[in-house]
């Protein structure tokens, strides 16, 4: 006899949601850290280094995320490094996010007017202070809408982790649906969960964008 969609099934979905949130947080935190490094290297003024980071960004933006996850999970296993599914997808998403966030922030760093850097140099401020005190605070503000937009993409994109057997929200929905034969109901609930996660962020992002547009009019 097939079970109906009830509390235990809902609980299973909630645990999937938990993993989705956790994976997103880890990937976003890792992606931010590595992405900052990518953005700084990409704008450092050294030709060779800028080219290497450009290639790095090109590779991870130009190949499917799915493929990257395969390489980390199965590829590294072939070299003898057997990773737990969560660790593997966390690494995959982190590296991928670092390329996208790095490129978003590269643009934001370059959007800070040149005069800001010149004024800082004329005052005798070194690179580290110029970046930390002058350029990055302004660049982060500029990039906030795009960064939030990427975070929303990342939340939804974590469903790809199912491909290496990691049970997050979308995969959990598939399992429950197969057990209950109530795909419309189950995927409706799964969709609502994603929506509750993503919509407030999108809303916040577009409000930020409107506020920035207003500020730049002044």
């Amino acid at each position: 006899m097939t079970p109906h969609f009830g509390l235990p099934e809902f609980g299973f979905l909630l645990r999937g949601l938990q993993w989705t949130v956790l994976l997103t947080l880890v990937a976003f935190a890792g992606g931010c850290t590595a992405g900052l490094a990518v953005a700084l290297l990409r704008t450092c003024g050294h030709r060779g280094v800028e080219w290497i980071t450009r290639i790095y960004i090109g590779i991870f933006q130009g190949t499917p995320l799915l493929l990257q996850l395969f390489v980390v999970y199965y590829g590294l296993a072939l070299t003898g490094l057997k990773l737990d599914a969560f660790v593997a997808v966390a690494i995959g998403f982190t590296v991928n996010a670092s390329a996208f966030l790095g490129e978003i922030w590269r643009g934001a760093i370059q959007a800070v007017p040149r005069g800001q850097t010149e004024a800082a140099m004329a005052l005798g401020l070194h690179y580290s202070s110029r970046m930390r005190d002058i350029v990055l605070p302004q660049a982060i503000r500029i990039s906030l809408p795009a960064t939030i937009g990427y975070l929303v993409q990342l939340i939804k994109g974590t469903s790809l982790a199912a491909i290496v057997g990691f049970i997050e929200l979308a995969r959990a929905g598939q399992i429950v649906s197969n057990q209950t034969f109530q795909p419309l109901l189950v995927f409706g609930v799964v969709g609502a969960m994603y929506f509750i996660l993503c919509w407030p962020l999108s809303w916040w992002g577009s409000r930020m964008e409107a506020r920035l547009a207003l500020a730049s009019q002044r």
Partner: protein, 248 residues
């Protein structure tokens, strides 16, 4: 009187790709001197002062500032930038910091002085440019003239030996030009060494020890303001003065 020389440029040449921006520029500035640089746009006057604090690199010649020769070493550039203050046409205040923070940042980070001392210095110079009551505001809340006076105070907080002004009044509404010029005149009267790129010929007459005219990357003519304005030697200078003085 070798000791009195603050800036010495010798045989300076600069190219942007194939375009030569500075041609064999020689310039000596003594302590306390006020110099006004003028010339048509594209004549290289901004480029010249931007070479003095190494915002632009030169390809040939030498620049010595306060006894330190500017080369590619980071240390030399550091030392020189501590001695040279600069005010830009577009103010370039840091928009995410208050007026006070704008003035305190560089002394704390580059001179490594304490917060209390930096704040005292900042307030002193903000008073001096008569804007002390705006210390807690953000740049966007100030008028153009006020912003430029903050930029002057910010540069002074590093206690520079020389101040460079790159068309400091060109971006201002006419009614705000005077307050900035008055601040600069006050600075000049206090004995600050200054190099000003400006078209304010009234200012040049009043404070300059020397007026230098540039065209096509070269220094064409220089002299005391009286002689320079009354009796310019070169046709190119006469033409330029005719054009800018026609409206005054």
């Amino acid at each position: 009187m070798q000791d009195n020389i603050l800036i010495e440029m010798k045989g300076v040449q600069k190219w942007y790709g194939g375009y030569q921006a500075l041609r064999d520029v020689n310039l000596t500035v003594r302590k306390g001197e006020k110099i006004v640089l003028c010339g048509p746009s594209g004549s290289g006057k901004s480029t010249l002062i931007r070479c003095i604090n190494r915002l632009e690199a030169i390809q040939q010649g030498s620049i010595v500032v306060n006894g330190h020769r500017l080369d590619d070493s980071i240390k030399a550039i550091d030392v020189v930038r501590q001695d040279v203050g600069m005010v830009f046409q577009s103010f370039n205040l840091f928009p995410h910091m208050t007026v006070l923070q704008n003035c305190m940042l560089a002394p704390i980070r580059a001179r490594r002085i304490g917060k209390t001392e930096a704040e005292a210095t900042a307030r002193k110079y903000l008073e001096r440019v008569r804007i002390g009551d705006q210390a807690g505001k953000y740049p966007a809340q100030l008028s153009g003239g006020q912003q430029q006076r903050v930029a002057i105070a910010r540069a002074l907080c590093m206690q520079p030996k020389v101040m460079l002004f790159d068309e400091p009044t060109s971006a201002l509404d006419p009614e705000m030009v005077k307050e900035v010029l008055d601040t600069m005149i006050g600075l000049a009267n206090d004995g600050m060494t200054m190099i000003c790129v400006t078209h304010e010929m009234g200012f040049a007459r009043q404070v300059a020890d020397r007026v230098i005219f540039m065209a096509e990357g070269q220094i064409i003519e220089e002299g005391a303001p009286d002689a320079f304005f009354r009796n310019p030697q070169h046709a190119r200078t006469r033409q330029f003065l005719g054009e800018i003085l026609a409206h005054h």
